[in-house]
Amino acid sequence: MFRILHAEFLAPGIKRFVIEAPRIAYKQKPGQFVILRLYEQGERIPITIEHSDPERGTIRIVVQSIGKTTHLLNSLNTGDSILNVVGPLGKPSEIAKFGTVVVMGGGVGTAMAYPTAAALKHAGNRVISILGARNKELVILESELREVSDALMITTDDGSYADKGFVTDKLRQLIENGTRIDLVLAIGPIPMMRAVAEMTRKEHIRTIVSLNPIMIDGTGMCGGCRVLIDGKSEFACVDGPEFDAHRVDFAVLVQRNSMYRPAEQRSMEEFQGGIGSRPEPVHTGQTGACALEGDGR
């Protein structure tokens, strides 16, 4: 059992948890994730580690309510426990001095982009961050990201906060202004990452994305999380989750993530029926939630 030491909503449907997990806190590096399971009949879902504190033995995760498991998770509070938390999983982000790095976080993907942005800044890079959300309420980690960035730009789909538009609009501006960009890190919903990849491919800018396929064990054993990279299968849990965006087959990722949609919907409907209320439907806007259980990156 892993105790929740603190829980707070960052935005409607997006909750941050501080969890007691000393082994994971001691080893975690930016870019890695945990897999958790809430109860005996529960599924295993991958969730980004946003921060860890090795001295206190705690990790922080940020969770968006999308399916049954994330809704249940976000109903937990300080003092509750999570049955299983395993990690840190996946390869850490490559941290080096690249020069100028553009870090793009879409929706709750910002929680995964943030620790890598901090590490890149610490490694001596000039970090330009672009944070996108559907609306003002869903902008998360703004002050955290500002602290580790040389410049921070924010977009909202509806213009209710900062600039109206998508994160890719800001990236285009940077490119058009002749900003020298050595690396782009884009973490968010699949349509956003795909759009970034298309834009930077033409400009020959190295671009890293963090992928979120369906996953079970997270150790390479099951092969369920395979993604098509340059036409070859690779496993997101051991070869990733970060990949060269220009080599990723995003269409296959979207297709494989849809595999259990009817079952996921059934789970969610039965869950909602059980609690007698219907939360807002899932939005699939460019910087909004992606309709996959997990951390909605």
Binding site: R23, I24, K27, R37, Q41, G42, E43, R44, K68, T69, L83, N84, V85, V86, G87, P88, L89, I216, D217, G218, T219, G220, M221, C222, G223, G224, R226, L228, S233, F235, V238, D249, A251, V252, Q255, R256, S258, M259, Y260, P262, A263, E264, R266, S267, E270
Partner: protein, 489 residues
């Protein structure tokens, strides 16, 4: 009952039958669920021996002076001795006798390929059917489970030495059981949320009920073995940290079969194409067949064509699971002939009784989609058998112009695994072979690193439960030696 002394065969046997009479008694069949019934449920196929059947079967044992059943057993179970205890009606004595060499009797009694080991070496098998050693072992283990009080197991005096076991599959559990009986403090790390490794995620309920594994693990806990789940050694903690910071005197690596192999043919990424590991993990570890009671989903198999590619136990476990999920047509696609299939004979027979079709001498060339990213068909090719290859089995040779298409909604690829690199890549100085498996001495299981031992599939590549257990047993013996005799590395 008194323990038999030096030469049990020459002692007054409890067996009332003469050797000639024993040869005339047919092998006793184990009760089974009927094929039609079991093809629709996940409960165990084999139902076990009654006491009467067990004693009748036990009486068939010829008590050979040279017991090849024992020498052919990877963990060296004293078959003749435990069978004689069954004849004498001392079932608890028989269980204790097995446990001297095998800490997981209820499991091996169910999943061992006995025809390759104890029963393959049984002298009776030369003339009639061999002694039902697996069935007898299972009977004794189940009897023990129903009659044993595990609250007060005897414990060896502590040696003060700490051993970490990485992985709670067959090799790790065996090493843990043997080491705790020697008085060492044993801590088992498991990456998944439930201990048992392949026994839990790989072998289906209808062949090895989860309850049996829980009981065997509870027994090990009662012996003093500690289990810690949710630890991926190499990621959550490294081997060096275990030895240097957490004070382990020795570590056994039994991380098992690693990454699933795919065929590298077009269309493997389509929805509906699974690795056997994923397919079986969903069903066994995650209980997807009980959706929505359990959250893990599974595709709707009802009425659909399902093929499993491969001919091993994993392939048969997968196709029989697909049948139980309601597959309309369930078949095995295997590129050699049935004679070369590595699966246990009993499983092949059971699968046929249940209605599994075997398309042998055929292999897929390509998975075809329905235009929307879902599997629709496989284009296959027929094979002929050529000369034996490195495995000693006759090599499949493609027949030109024999391509054909079969409609398919689900394909499960069960053609083996390759080494999972997580432990090797995070343990400096640990030697591996060119395929990435850990190099370990065949007798002592010692690796290139002092205090570090390895065994099971992460050393040999995919093998069987009992072979992994044999490695665990050899490792435990040399770990004990290493820990108690200075200068033994």
């Amino acid at each position: 009952m008194t323990e038999p002394t030096k030469q049990p065969a020459k002692q007054a046997s409890a067996n009332p039958l003469s050797l000639k009479e024993r040869m005339k008694v047919p092998r006793q069949h184990m009760l089974e669920q009927s094929p039609l019934e079991r093809a629709t449920n996940f409960t165990e196929v084999n139902l076990g021996y009654s006491e009467e059947l067990a004693r009748q079967e036990a009486q068939r044992c010829l008590e050979c002076p040279k017991a090849t059943c024992t020498t052919d057993c990877p963990v060296g179970v004293k078959v003749k001795e435990f069978v004689q205890l069954i004849v004498a009606g001392d079932y608890m004595g028989a269980a204790a006798k097995i446990r001297e060499d095998n800490v997981l009797p209820a499991i091996t009694g169910r999943v061992c390929p006995q025809e390759d080991h104890c029963e393959g070496g049984c002298l009776m098998g030369k003339k009639v059917q061999p002694l039902g050693i697996g069935y007898l072992e299972r009977f004794v283990a189940d009897y023990e489970q129903g009659h044993l009080d595990i609250s007060n197991l005897p414990k060896a005096p502590p040696t003060g030495k700490k051993v970490a076991i990485v992985g709670s599959g067959p090799s790790g559990l065996t090493a843990a059981g043997d080491l705790v009986q020697q008085g060492h403090q044993v801590h088992v790390f498991e990456a998944l949320h439930t201990p048992g490794g392949v026994l839990v995620y790989g072998i289906p309920e209808f062949r090895l009920p989860k309850q049996i594994i829980r009981e065997q693990i509870d027994y090990m806990r009662a012996m003093g073995v500690e289990f810690e789940t949710d630890v991926v050694v190499g990621r959550t903690v490294t081997i060096d940290e275990l030895m240097e910071e957490e004070g382990y005197d020795a570590v056994f690596i039994g991380t098992g079969a690693g990454l699933p192999q795919f065929m590298g043919i077009p269309g493997e990424h389509l929805n509906g194409v699974y690795s056997a590991n994923e397919f079986l993990t969903r069903i066994n570890l995650m209980h997807a067949y009980e959706f929505p009671k359990y959250d893990e989903p599974m595709l709707d198999f009802r009425g659909k064509n399902v093929a499993v590619i491969g001919g091993g136990n994993t392939a048969l476990d997968a196709i029989r699971s697909a049948l139980r999920l309601g597959a309309g047509k369930a078949f095995i696609l295997y590129r050699r002939s049935e004679a070369e299939m590595p699966a246990r004979k009993e499983e092949v027979e059971h699968a046929k009784q249940e209605g599994i079709e075997f398309q042998v001498l055929a292999a897929p060339l390509e998975f075809l989609d329905d235009g929307k990213g879902w599997l629709a068909a496989a284009r296959c090719q027929k094979m002929a058998l050529g000369e034996p290859d490195a495995s000693g089995r006759r090599r499949p040779v493609p027949i030109e112009g024999s391509e054909y298409e079969i409609p398919l909604a689900v394909a499960v690829i069960a053609i083996g695994t390759s080494a999972n690199p997580i432990v090797q890549s995070t343990t400096p100085g640990l030697a591996t072979n060119k395929r990435g498996y850990i190099q370990a001495d065949q007798n002592t299981q010692k690796t290139s690193r002092k205090g570090l031992f390895a065994g099971g599939d992460i050393v040999t590549g995919s093998a069987t439960v009992i072979l992994a257990m044999g490695a665990g047993r050899r490792a435990a013996k040399s770990i004990h030696e290493y820990l108690t005799t200075p200068g033994t590395w």
